[in-house]
Symmetry: C2
Subunit: 365 residues, 2 copies
Amino acid sequence: MTDPHVLDLSTDVVSLTERLCNIESVSHNERAIADAVEAALRPLGHLTVTRHGNTVVARTELGRDERVVIAGHLDTVPVNSNLPVRREDGILHGLGTCDMKAGDAVILKLAADLTDPNRDLTFILYDCEEIESHHNGLFKLAMSDPELMRADFAILMEPSDAIVEAGCQGSLQCDVRAAGERAHSARSWKGVNAIHKAGEILNRLATYDARTPVIDGLEYHEGLNAVGISGGVATNVLPDECVVSVNYRFAPDRTEAEAEVFVRDFFDGFEVTITDNSPGAHPGLSRPAAKEFIEAVGGEVKPKFGWTDVARFTVLDVPAVNFGPGDPMFAHKQDEHVAIEHIERCERQLRTWLGLDKPDHREGS
Amino acid sequence: MTDPHVLDLSTDVVSLTERLCNIESVSHNERAIADAVEAALRPLGHLTVTRHGNTVVARTELGRDERVVIAGHLDTVPVNSNLPVRREDGILHGLGTCDMKAGDAVILKLAADLTDPNRDLTFILYDCEEIESHHNGLFKLAMSDPELMRADFAILMEPSDAIVEAGCQGSLQCDVRAAGERAHSARSWKGVNAIHKAGEILNRLATYDARTPVIDGLEYHEGLNAVGISGGVATNVLPDECVVSVNYRFAPDRTEAEAEVFVRDFFDGFEVTITDNSPGAHPGLSRPAAKEFIEAVGGEVKPKFGWTDVARFTVLDVPAVNFGPGDPMFAHKQDEHVAIEHIERCERQLRTWLGLDKPDHREGS
């Protein structure tokens, strides 16, 4: 097959990863890859395929007792001299290999091969994950067609070193403002230096003692950090404003409202403006579907510290985990890469769990 | 006379101020006003006029025992809906009225009228005072023709409320850098937050105790201030750098080198980069020319806290003071203005001191 935009789902998962990576799909430029994905899935008789912008949803409708969502985003961060991808010594190098076209390739292989799975399946391949939340295809789908996201369990195939990362921490962003009074810097005693006053904000941050609550057996680790600071008018002017941009990562036992109360209390005496607030996701490991999945993939589970789209399932009361090939430390890096063994292992474990292969059968179809 | 660019030096000092203001001369656009000044001074037989870029120098060569420089800059800050000027209830409103075409008008009146002064006089009207120092016409003149600035005493007619402001404080600018280590803000314990570390820089600034040395009977007042702060990479990244921009105003009993030693010691443990360092000016009030001048204008003297071009005379060992019409608090303001009484008083006092009128004669020519 010579058209690079036609996907052959009968090929192996690693070749399919390469093919997906080489369809450049930086955020807002996912039309070609979404077209290719849709074209590959539409002919499959066991799937009902719908298209929502550049998001593609494919579902089985077999009347099984449980339904599982398996999802991945199709976009990448900008190209950084790291396309096309290359395979070398068991490693696939290049943009999208880790975050997250290896995961997408696993999803497409499962969608093609699992014609008679033991659970009903919903595959979601969506756009605009790497940019502002309001563009996010999964966010839009939750607004327009939430019934397509309903399930007993959801797996987001973001890179997680091929082990299960459960739940995620919430993320609140706020501006903390110290106010002063301008004066000429040569007569500074006539004003109030707002940057000096902001020292108190930084002092409080430096003494912050992080909560590490244990939830479903997983220890989360909160964080409260200045991620930006700005102030100053000119070198001869005493500044009348200094704004510290603060990021609060909160464990999933706290709601967004509780997180807001915490930061307002923490910075008492300063003006606090909340600029963004995304809820965490409870790991939900006590749910039957989650328990069985974790056993099937080896039992190892870690808490997820960063915010991910799993939280979009949590608000729909769907327990969700991250489970995908690739070391997340290499996501967004110029030297992004993925171990081929990760891709093959994730595919194998999911096939087994979903009833295609026997547990001890090590090779795929 | 209808050509707005022709200056009639026989008119009164207030009308001449208006005329000068209405020749727009924002920094780097002083050619027209310098041409007008040069054209007005060249015909005067008692003056030797030279032109240096857009700086005009006019000197008497009468062999007097003393020589006095009287100087003013021709440029203004940018126009801010405040031209042309208007006269109302004893006040002249508009761009340049205060900073410092009222002073320039006094200089031009003195240059025209003082055909036989009791001291030799050097009038300097220069460009580019309101912008970066290396463009400054007086700075350039000190480099190219320092002999034209030599004198026993210098008066800079910057706005000073029509009283004498002696000397000036030095100004050192530096960047103080806190360093850290990047990490994802969701796993902040893996990095070092540079903004949090900068809290110590702000703490030291907040506890700074200003020196107030008395020099020649004048109490100076130092200042050490953050005038800018910046740090931050992205809301999901722990910042690895925070830079505090610090301004140190130092009394004229400290040299530039001593000022640098002070800030390096004060911020010990942090990387300090000196970005600018301008020496102060000793008031020099014990010099005979300075003493007589101060007596002639009423005896009141204040220390100058801000840096001014008087320091350019100090490095040539010429004692220098600021003395000019206008409240400096209105310089660079949209509502810039000057009291007509200030302009007339400054002109009168200088005429008297330079021997044109008797001390008690209250009216000018």
